[in-house]
Symmetry: C2
Subunit: 644 residues, 2 copies
């Protein structure tokens, strides 16, 4: 068994005044209550969730049939998980009572053999595991397991985890390599991650064995119980719902390119990273690196969004990244955080924590409104609302955030991301502490025999300074590793107010290996100049265009600031950039003012002989991408713009 | 009754050596036989047509059920029509025998009440007119009527027309305003055009009355027999198969914008123009002008392609003209020729004949390969074959021409266009002759009491000179009106070798009103410089891009000449253009060499800080758009390119 970096206990990480503290307050005060109301069908003007009622029905405390998607249970689970994280730092007895009552309901819905699933309870649980391809039973089980572990960690209450242990035991009895068991796995990975987490919480490695079994047979066998199509010769459900959609076109160890449904892919790859951390199987690591390269070099949007096609919510082919028709699902961005985090723990290379940061401030964050009550499922990089509202090939692109969805996987997923953001800040080995993310926070880390208290103070991502201070009883020699983001070309480092030159830069981390004293401070300053970004020219949609970034934030032009017909705008690449501080919905923010031109061409009959068009000088205003669509509905928006 | 310009008898127009003569030879020698084989299921490697067998089955001379689409009869009809045009100038007794045999079969398939339709014969003709929305019965009837008129004109043989007269009489008995008749119309306009044509051929205006009835009630009544959805409250079949898809969202006289299925729209508007020519109803003309403006100013591709969306094969919203995902169906371009031609006859403004020319050399012509045996249904303006082959939202875009289609409306439609191209050259009034198209040809026109023979000699569209000579017995005063295309800024005119200054330019036609003598010659020279074209900046896809035109031809860059990754290419807008004459599949052609750059950006991780990229000078080669995909399969192609 290999030892890689340790995750921190999330309860040991306290966020302090700053961007994420603000967002976590919103989580506790607004998002959790709003989502609870919505899961209980109490929010007006949004699609009914039915998710909590489904458990009432399954518990025989309500009449009716379950509503919503077949994986509606997972919305409840992710909400519990988010609420559990919230409770870790924002105790709330009323919320805890609601969860306890919900746990009771889930317990009542559990069958005597341990099975829990509201949809298959209604169908009759003898139907269980008959459509593993699309039935999402193990997926829902996985989310409930994750919720149970989080709630146990937050409150010490074991009841939900006990329920899920019974269920996990049933799964272990019914799936496995032995004769008479089902030789199969879920079409949507998630159970794998959950079983690893349950194994850690219960210190019972059998759950990891089961997770490894699911991953090892995936794509290796003609599996059992794939669903309706199993009765005949199994046929792809469409040209895009093929084995690679389900990540089973070949065994995982033979995969070299990211494929298929982007959320399924991320959850699977994250599970594979768990398996590698456990087993040290080099073929798994080679696979993970190859998949990562494929994603990072050929298949990801500048915002971190992934999945270029709506049909199949999936990856397409290398460099195909249309800005207006991608899927770029919020859940896929979140899933990529899960995967990147595990990669980080194995191999602290800044490419992984950079990707987490990219999602935190762009691709995932855009999935929720500043007020916490409206969501994007799809996060386009360019939108012309009238076109998107009309065209059938943009049917998946909403022109404004919605209060809820018929398929509402994203809102609760982003809630649990907000609640767990602290876990991505630090990690440690016996002799070193890594700081992956720059978030005002405090934590305590045991290094051998010494308890080190760390405090980070920063106005990141808006301002360049990060102040880290250490408190400890005795001197201690250890390595402090600070991520140097790849977006950052210039930085300064001081220790106790003096420039520090004694460090080395390794895989994008500044390694400071020294004897540390109580009260030592480290000041890292990451220069945040405004940058114009270009894309590899094989990404055909971005040739001749630039995007704007400052620090980790991708910026966009929005109609609200720049008027309609954004395609007429041209960025002056030699512009002076001016930063403008604003407060938007209680969050301080920095907007960028820059020089540009508007080139308007009006013709009699659509086309005309090219002439030197007048270019009117305009001062453009760019806002962080994640903020778009917060000030007015149905606004044009563009991340990539022409330039001269 | 108003008098507008007269169409010429197509038999009176003889094409002479040149572009269209060559294409008509191909029609007779290759296209007609190839399509006949294919309609008879004798072409290997293409979808089976079944179209002729369907008539054998309906005639009870073969067992089985009809195959292909519900409107498969129309493929046979359009082929007969094309063959009839071919026979006018290329007598071919074998072909005529084949058609006669086919006519016999159609006769045998006719029911005693006059009804002809292979699909509804199999269904049982008591089912007739039960799904007028999608059943295409009157559409098929229309095409058979058009074929019958053409065959009668070509050969003097009345049998098919007699058959269709019986059928038309049945339609007139069963549809109409009277009590007990069906108050309805076909979902796909076509019968309207056909009935006008039949009325002219039979000199029986009742058929025009029926056509007018169909047009007048369209969108005005809750119609009968719309199909399956009629049984309940009628619901749109999808968000895009709405009343406007069927051109029935309102009465035609209230329409102001082109909408719906683009082929249906063109056929309807053409019919409305027929009705206006007959009735002079000013509201119809106002409607037609408004529709035309909407198309020409906001809804047409530079190639003449129309229909921006695959789903519904339809118009979307103003300025939405994606180059890679449009539908731009060959049939829609052909339909637009029908409409434009009728507009031309009503109001000889060059905008109409320019549009016909645009289709003849671009949007419609690209629908057939140079060898005549392979077709595009969808004519994209930009293609990246690997992307188009993968993406679901490009499923409709073929990356190379196909030998036939499951839904094969386009191949026979382009065949009949080729065969009838001569009709678009001339028109006349009692006192004037219009030359709309520049095609080497001869014709005779009766002007009052004088027969004027006209001869056009030109190497158009490649060369600038057009020589027109008149032969007649006596001097004759008349107006000779020559179209001055809108693409042409500079031109010269000589009469009998002397510069002519005595003319006026009216609505884009050069009016030469004088006493003409036998042997007079007119030499028109239309300067064909290479031009860079820009689009109205509301067409967001074309901002910062230019297209290349020379004369009426739109040019494109193809991978075959310029290498892959065409998006990396940048046109030098100050380039010297060099013309290169080539012979491609026996057609002389002019390609354009021009200066440009290739800007290749290779990055480590897809995105990077913008830098001054190296731009490698390249000599680009542009070919006429219609020729793309003829030298190799699955080639990248782009009409609109970046420039500096």
């Amino acid at each position: 068994m290999n030892v890689y970096m340790e995750e921190m206990n999330p309860q040991k990480i306290t966020l302090r005044d700053g961007f994420w503290c603000n967002r976590n307050q919103l989580l506790s005060e607004v998002i959790i209550p709003y989502q609870w109301d919505t899961l209980n069908n109490r929010t007006e003007g949004v699609p009914l969730s039915h998710a909590v009622d489904n458990f009432r029905i399954a518990a025989k405390e309500m009449d009716g049939t379950p509503g919503g998607t077949i994986f509606q249970d997972s919305d409840v689970a992710k909400w519990i998980e988010a609420a559990a994280y919230s409770l870790m730092h924002h105790p709330n007895s009323e919320l805890e009572s609601s969860i306890d009552e919900l746990v009771r309901l889930i317990g009542e819905s559990q069958h005597s053999n341990g099975y829990v699933n509201t949809f298959y309870t209604a169908k009759g649980i003898e139907q269980r595991w008959t459509d593993l391809e699309m039935g999402h039973e193990l997926y829902c089980a996985g989310h409930l397991i994750e919720a149970s572990v989080a709630y146990y960690q937050a409150t010490g209450k074991r009841k939900l985890m006990d329920i899920m242990v019974l269920y996990a035991n049933l799964i272990a009895e019914e799936f496995g390599p032995e004769e008479g068991k089902l030789h199969s796995y879920d079409g949507h990975p998630e159970i794998e991650l959950a079983l690893y987490r349950l194994a850690e919480a219960t210190e019972d490695s059998r759950y990891m064995d089961l997770a490894d079994y699911f991953m090892n047979i995936r794509g290796s066998i003609k599996r059992d119980a794939t669903g309706a199509s199993d009765k005949e010769e199994r046929k792809p459900r469409s040209r895009w719902l093929t084995p690679d959609y389900f990540l089973e076109q070949k065994p995982i160890r033979e995969m070299t390119e990211v494929t298929g449904h982007s959320v399924r892919a991320m959850y699977l790859y994250a599970g594979v990273a768990d398996q590698y951390r456990r087993t040290g199987d080099q073929t798994l690591w080679d696979t993970l690196l190859s998949l990562w390269d494929s994603l990072e070099q050929r298949s990801v949007y500048i915002t971190g969004g992934i999945g270029s096609q709506s049909h199949g919510e999936r990856f397409t082919i290398d460099y195909d990244l249309p800005p207006d028709r991608g899927y770029t699902e919020t859940c896929a961005s979140i899933g990529l955080i899960f995967w990147a985090w595990r990669m980080s723990l194995i191999d602290p290379d800044n490419r992984y924590a950079d990707m987490i940061e990219k999602q935190m401030y762009n691709g995932a964050l855009s999935g929720i409104s500043l007020d916490g009550k409206a969501y994007f499922y799809v996060n386009p990089l360019e939108i012309k609302p009238k076109v998107a509202a009309f065209r059938q090939d943009m049917e998946h692109v909403l022109t404004h955030r919605a209060g809820w969805f018929d398929c509402a996987c994203c809102p609760t997923n982003i809630a649990r991301l907000f609640g767990s953001i602290g876990k991505y800040i630090y990690s440690s080995t016996d002799t070193s502490i890594y700081i992956h993310q720059f978030i005002s926070s405090e934590t305590e880390i045991v290094l051998g025999d010494e308890l080190v208290s760390l405090r980070q103070e920063t106005k990141y991502p808006w301002h360049e300074e990060i102040l880290i201070s250490c408190t400890m009883e005795h001197q201690k020699h250890f390595g402090l590793m600070l991520r140097k983001p790849r977006w950052c070309d210039a930085w300064t480092l001081e220790i106790n107010g003096m420039p520090c030159t004694s460090y080395c830069l390794e895989k994008g981390y500044i390694h400071i290996d020294r004897m540390w004293n109580d009260g030592d401070t480290v000041q890292l300053k990451l220069e945040m100049t405004v940058k114009l970004i270009q894309a590899d020219s094989r990404a055909q949609d971005y040739c001749g265009k630039v995007a704007l970034m400052r620090g980790p934030l991708v910026y966009c032009l929005e109609e609200f600031d720049n008027g309609p017909q954004l395609q007429e705008l041209i960025i002056n690449s030699e512009s002076n950039f001016e930063l403008e501080e604003e407060i938007l919905q209680s969050i301080p923010s920095i907007h960028i003012l820059l020089d540009g031109y508007r080139e308007t061409v009006r013709t009699d009959s659509l086309y005309e002989h090219m002439k030197k068009n007048e270019r009117i000088k305009v001062r453009l205003k760019a806002i962080p991408y994640y903020q778009w669509g917060n000030r007015a509905k149905d606004q044009e928006m563009r991340v990539w713009n022409r330039f001269i």
